[in-house]
Each structure stands twice: as C-alpha cells, then as structure tokens.
C-alpha cells in the first residue's frame, strides 16, 4: 500500500528520466529524477506572501511605518543605548555577526538574521514563540536584551508625541491609558508588521532552478560548475534536503545535528524541549486572547505540538537563504564559517548525536576537499538582495 506523492510537473519530469546538465562531457553534472524533484521544490522564489491572521495590523502601511520606527528606536531599551537593530542590523543582514547576541548582557544564542519571516511556523532557535509578534515581545522585556517592563514601555511611548499619535491612529486607544500589557502586544504587532517586509530577493540558485524547470540548458550553464556539483551533493549523498527542503530551505521544525548545547559550563540549553515549555506558559501564544485570529485556526500547531524526550538538544532547522551573509553559524554561533559547517557534517561526531533519529539520519559524509569546496560554493549561491519597507 504505497502512494507516491509528487507534484504533477515533477512526475512528468520523472518520465523524461534523469537529466544531463549542460555540455562539457568531462564534468557534466547529472541529477536523478528524485534529485531534480528536490531541486525544483526549492522554489519558485519569491513565494506568495500572506498577511498574518493573528495580527490585525499585519500588512498595514501605518503599522509598518510605526514598526520600523520602533525597531531602530533606543527608547525601547532601559538605558537608552540599544534597539532591535543592535542585534539585527540591516548592514549585517539583520543579524549582528557575533557568535551570541549582546544586549545589556550576553545572551545564550546567536541572533537570527531576520528575513522572510512570514514563512516561519515557529520563532527563535527553540520555537518558544508561535507568531512574529509574540517573538518580538521577548527582547523588549528580557533583562539581558532591552530590559524594559511593560509599564516603562507604555510611559516611554506615551512621552513621544509622534509615536503616541501613530499608536492612537492604529489601535484606537490612547497609549497612556491603555493597559500596559496591551501596549506591549500592540507595539510588538507593529514591529511584526515591519519585520514581515524584510525579504530576500532572487538568487543565482533560483535562476538555475527555474531554468532546470524549463529544461533550458543554455541558461542552466550560467550557474557555476562547482555550485552545480555542490547542489548535487546537497540533494544527493549529503541528504541535506531531509531537513533543509522547500523554497526556504527548511522544514521549519527542530532537529539535533550534534552541536554541543552547553550555554555555559554546567548549564545546558534545553533547545526545543524548553521551547515547548515556554510556548505553553506564554500568555501571548496563539491560543491566548491576544491573537486576532478569532477561530484560532492559526493555533493548530500550538494546540497539537507534543513535548517529547528527543526534543532535548533539538534546534530549529535554519533557512539557508542568505546563509553566506549570516556568519557565524548554529544556535550558539560556534562555527565561524561555512567551511566549518560543512566540516561539521563531514566529520560528524556520532557520540554527540544522542537522539536516535539523528543517529540514523546523519552519518559522517567524509567529503573530499573538492566536494567540501563544491558544497560551500553551492551555499554561496543562495544570497539575494535584502529589501524592507515601507
């Protein structure tokens, strides 16, 4: 009783059999039908974008303007010295280039480069938030990041006339008289509206993928040979697409690839296990009254997520779009370069893969230096221009 589930376009390509790419007989890169299907599934790009049903100001121009203003505003930090942009700087792809974020203190994890956030199901390395606005609340009130209380935030916004006016216009309430927790949520919803506009453009890989779909060998040949060979490893023996699949190169879920997860000597980062606990305890999750999604359909993942023992040490599978611009890597920023990441997968310490699943899915790839360089060359073709509004 087996059912093959393939998009019909892909099924048609399968009938055509394996494809030989470009001329140059000595180095022609070939893909099996399954590899071709996996490559096509990494697009098309850009994907359609939809407003967030849990955020009533999602997509609203005024909310985007207010959110942009708040994102760069140091009023949001206790000592007036930091903003969201301290750790998510547009000049460094909305990350900070540091292994771990530094706000009022050093945080446990690597600042995630903000882009294409409308595609996320979960936010943060452990998925402790189920919406972009809920994720945006955390740094405002975290003592290690911006360190405000909800009351302090309300007072500061109320004292800034332009912000207060924009708030009243958007949320039909005077910020000074709104409940502090409500102000926190609304500010986060405006921040979310802005962050949704941060998107990455088309990449050399996307042009190749579309040419492959059209069987346009002439255009396909523009894609560098090392990248083609690296792509063949990515979708082939590297098995990278088990986790990094689809247009955003991620399942959006959580896995353990054997990165040590000590936050500091003697203290473990529980990863997804702790993320689920935090999600459930959050007064701001999608099952809460703060969600604007009346029938709570957006809350299906939150309602059904199950905490399991294997979640210890699992972290979210990161998107690989723009990955060449977002070093250092992994949840704790422990790997400095893409070469280091590829070496990690090539040499994989099986002792560290405590999860049974990881152990069966991942094995040391033992890549040759040439193969490792090709895989890096492929990852470097995933960069596209970053744009953000309004």
């Amino acid at each position: 009783m087996k059912q093959r589930v393939l998009p019909s376009a892909v099924a048609a390509l399968m009938l055509a059999g394996a494809a030989v790419l470009a001329a140059g007989p000595e180095q022609a890169v070939t893909f099996s039908a399954d590899e071709r299907a996996a490559i096509l599934a990494h697009g098309p790009w850009p994907p359609p974008r939809h407003p967030d049903p849990s955020n009533r100001v999602s997509g609203n121009r005024d909310a985007i303007s207010l959110g942009r203003r708040l994102f760069f505003d140091t009023r949001l930090s206790l000592d007036g010295r930091q903003s969201c942009a301290t750790c998510h700087d547009p000049a460094t792809a909305f990350a900070d280039g540091k292994p771990r974020g530094i706000g009022r203190a050093l945080v446990d994890r690597n600042a995630i480069a903000l882009a294409n956030l409308g595609l996320n199901r979960w936010f943060g390395w452990a998925g402790a938030a189920d919406s972009l606005w809920a994720q945006s609340i955390h740094p405002i009130v975290d003592v290690k990041e911006l360190g405000l209380t909800a009351e302090q935030l309300r007072d500061r916004l109320a004292a800034a006339p332009a912000i207060a006016a924009a708030y009243t216009h958007l949320f039909q309430a005077a910020v000074a008289h709104d409940a502090a927790e409500r102000v926190l949520v609304n500010a986060a919803k405006a921040l979310a509206a802005f962050q949704e506009t941060i998107v990455t453009g088309r990449t050399p890989f996307d042009d190749f993928r579309d040419a492959l779909e059209r069987s346009d060998t002439r255009s396909m040949a523009h894609y560098p040979r090392p990248a083609q060979r690296g792509l063949a490893i990515f979708v082939g023996k590297g098995n990278c697409t088990a986790c990094h699949f689809g247009p955003n190169f991620t399942s959006g879920e959580f896995e353990d690839v054997g990165v040590p997860h000590f936050a500091e000597q003697g203290r473990v980062d529980a990863g997804r296990h702790g993320g689920i606990a935090a999600l459930r305890a959050s007064p701001f999750n999608l099952l809460s009254p703060y969600s604007d999604n009346a029938d709570k359909a957006a809350g299906v993942p939150t309602r059904h997520v199950e905490q399991q023992h294997r979640n210890w040490g699992e972290f979210r599978v990161p998107s690989l779009r723009n990955v060449a611009r977002t070093a250092p890597y992994m949840h704790n920023g422990s790997l400095a370069t893409l070469q280091d990441v590829v070496r990690h997968y090539s040499e994989l310490n099986e002792e560290r893969l405590h999860g049974h699943a990881g152990r069966r899915l991942l094995r040391p790839l033992r890549l040759t230096p040439q193969e490792a360089a090709d895989l890096v060359a492929f990852l470097e073709t995933l960069s596209g221009e970053i744009s953000f509004g309004p």
Binding site: D34, A38, A41, T241, E253, P301, R303, V305, E306, Q308
Partner: protein
C-alpha cells in the same frame, strides 16, 4: 525504538463517548472514490479515508477523515487513534493529533504534520471492546 513504543507516546487516543447506537456501518455506507475517499482493508476491518489537502506534502499540516466501513463482528468502535512514523529514522511526528466524531463511525483528525521527506507509515488503530485492530498505510513524500 519500535513503532509500538513510539505510538504509545505520540498517538491521538481519544475517548469519543459514542452513543450506544453507534454500530459500525456496513460496507455499503462507505464513502466512495468520487468523494475523494480511498479504502484501507485488513481481514479484521475496512476503513475509508481522505486527507485535506488531498496531496500530502512534507512540512504541511493536514486533516484526515476516517470512516469505519467494516469492523470485526460488526462491533462498535469506541476509540480511534491515528499516528505516523518514519520507520527508517525511528521517529514519529512532532504533533499529537486530536479527533472529533462528526457522524456515527465518521471521524475528523486535526493536527497531523509529516515534517520530513521520505517514507512515513501512517497507522490507524480501532479499539472495539478489548480488541485492537491496526490498519497501516505507507506514503512517500518528496521534498
């Protein structure tokens, strides 16, 4: 970890508190292929099922409808459970589905998601009296 061990933790076991009149329906009442249903049968039981959206995709949530068409001795089903796992990787789903009975012998499951391409084994367990019947279905997801 075997499939048995996995399903204990991850399945959706629901007590549907069906009324006494809920006897499994004869095969004739089974929804048809025209309605988008497929059949799954074993010597003990036969069900009809369909997914929404109809084509399963890795990483995408879906709902399942299950209709019990034939059960052993025609006995009522008082519990029904759906689960999925990747036998080659030894892991199950990240979510625990929930069920509602939308008509006698007709259930809808929410909260199913297969988070990785590859072969998944979907299991549907029917509980009747003290008996337990398992139907399995394999699905291959491309990335």
């Amino acid at each position: 970890m075997g499939i048995g061990a996995m399903t204990r933790g991850a399945g959706a076991l629901v007590s549907l508190a069906l009324s006494a009149g809920t006897i499994a329906h004869p095969a004739a009442a089974c929804p048809t292929a025209e309605q988008g249903f497929r059949r799954l049968a074993s010597p003990e039981a036969e069900i009809a099922y369909r997914w929404a959206p109809p084509a399963l995709k890795a990483g995408q949530f879906f709902t399942a409808e299950v209709v019990t068409c034939r059960t052993r001795w025609g006995e009522a089903v008082h519990d029904i459970k759906i689960d999925a796992a990747m036998p080659a990787h030894g892991h199950g789903m990240n979510y625990r589905p929930s069920a509602v009975a939308i008509a006698p012998g007709h259930y809808r499951f929410t909260g199913l998601m297969l988070h990785m391409p590859g072969t998944w084994r979907i299991t549907i367990d029917l509980l009747q009296g003290g008996r337990h019947t398992r139907l399995t279905h394999e699905v291959d997801l491309s990335p």
